[in-house]
């Protein structure tokens, strides 16, 4: 049918190297999520602090993260910071870029989730003698995490997909970077990238299904 011979064996022979790359990809995604969540909590608090400077920092961060391409944000981390004499390694650049993006989107999610919880919940907690901190920690936060859980899962998937952009700043140890490198050696572009696609698909599916499982265990109400 095609005037082309598929050579899947050649690609499959490289599977171990690609799986090593997949590990790096997961590493970047997980790190960028963990730091991103912590930053997002901080930025959400900034936003709600009522202090204008902090609130402005939070808003600016969120809007830049949401209204420019992720690739732009990675370039900023790599080339942009370079202008200030800060030269980050490819790994650090991609990690910083994705973390910036995650933090921005997650802040917006957290804020939305907080809004969805009626004020009366905190009020009820206060009337039982909880202080502001206690009311937040024991009553508001658990409910917020439930609402924000699905968007957090989605962001994790995005983080995985975004790691493929590392190649633009010279990253070559992640799944996409490894595949690209193998491609330069063997020219089996279709086979190699198809295999990479399958691995990416399996990773993202595992995340979504795993998250669903965790959600049913965690949120039984």
């Amino acid at each position: 049918m095609f005037n082309y011979t598929f050579q899947w064996k050649q690609a499959l022979a490289r599977l171990p190297q690609m799986l090593d790359g997949a590990l790096v990809t997961m590493q970047i995604a997980v790190l960028s999520m963990v730091i991103g969540i912590l930053l997002a909590i901080l930025l959400t608090m900034f936003r709600l602090s009522g202090i204008r400077v902090l609130s402005a920092v939070s808003k600016t961060w969120v809007e830049i993260a949401r209204n420019t391409p992720a690739l732009f944000q990675i370039y900023m981390a790599h080339f942009g910071l370079g202008s200030f004499g800060i030269h980050l390694s490819p790994f650090a650049s991609i990690l910083l870029g994705i973390t910036f993006n995650n933090a921005g989107y997650l802040t917006e999610n957290f804020r939305g989730a907080l809004k969805a919880i009626p004020d009366t919940q905190a009020r009820a907690a206060r009337s039982l003698g909880f202080g502001q901190g206690g009311a937040f920690r024991y009553v508001v936060l658990p409910q917020m995490l439930r609402i924000a859980f699905l968007p957090m899962t989605n962001q994790m998937v995005w983080a995985i997909l975004m790691t493929s952009l590392g190649v633009t700043v010279g990253m070559n140890t992640d799944l996409y970077g490894v595949t690209q490198g193998l491609n330069a050696l063997t020219f089996r572009t279709f086979e190699l990238f198809a295999l990479a696609a399958v691995i990416f698909y399996l990773i993202t599916k595992t995340i979504t299904l795993g998250a669903r499982l965790i959600a049913t265990r965690l949120f039984r109400y």
Binding site: T120, A125, L128, G129, F130, V139
Partner: protein, 240 residues
Amino acid sequence: MIEIENVRKSFGSLEVLKGIDLTVQKGEVVTIIGGSGSGKSTLLTCINGLEPIDSGRITVDGTEVHAKSTDLNKLRRKIGIVFQQFNAFPHLTVLENVMLAQVKVLKRPKAEAEAEAVKQLNHVGLGDKLKVYPSRLSGGQQQRMAIARALAMSPDYMLFDEVTSALDPQLVGEVLDTLRMLAREGMTMICVTHEMKFAREVSDRVAFFHKGVMAEIAPPDQLFGAPRDPELQKFLSATH
């Protein structure tokens, strides 16, 4: 003893409490009736310090609620409040709802808190719903859970803010029965309510609020039997 002296409170330009005076003795049951917007619910949230007041004074057992030096979190342990919306914590089971503040606020040991929670839940007739999440309860059951949650803190006073207003008519009875039981047991209570029959039965005194003013206060037989205030007469004939 709760003492309310000349309390005024405005939301923006709207004055909702225009100088309220009321003293509630230990063991007394006072119900407050009146049309919507009469300020009766606001008064309750002022008593436990959820709302600030503009002038006047509220003291609970000699502690001034709105004084800067007052530890409101501590004071609120004495004063249970139940709202019109049930405010169940949806992420906790019925048992956990009633245990949470006992453990985290009163620092009771878990076993003790659980025993108290079970006792209170049995008391309001929810002994068979301990492991259930509030979303599985009817409105009446959620409201009784909220009452148990407040009672588990061993309060000296209970405030009830239109606790049956959000309920389907057939569920009102079970919640009122719980309140009647508390009244019989000698709990000091202030109830804001629209249930006239209930007010008549349980109250030592009934207060009628109209446009931010306490227009009349008297024992129920007198207030319902021979109302003096013309607005009260209008109100009663409209609700009968």
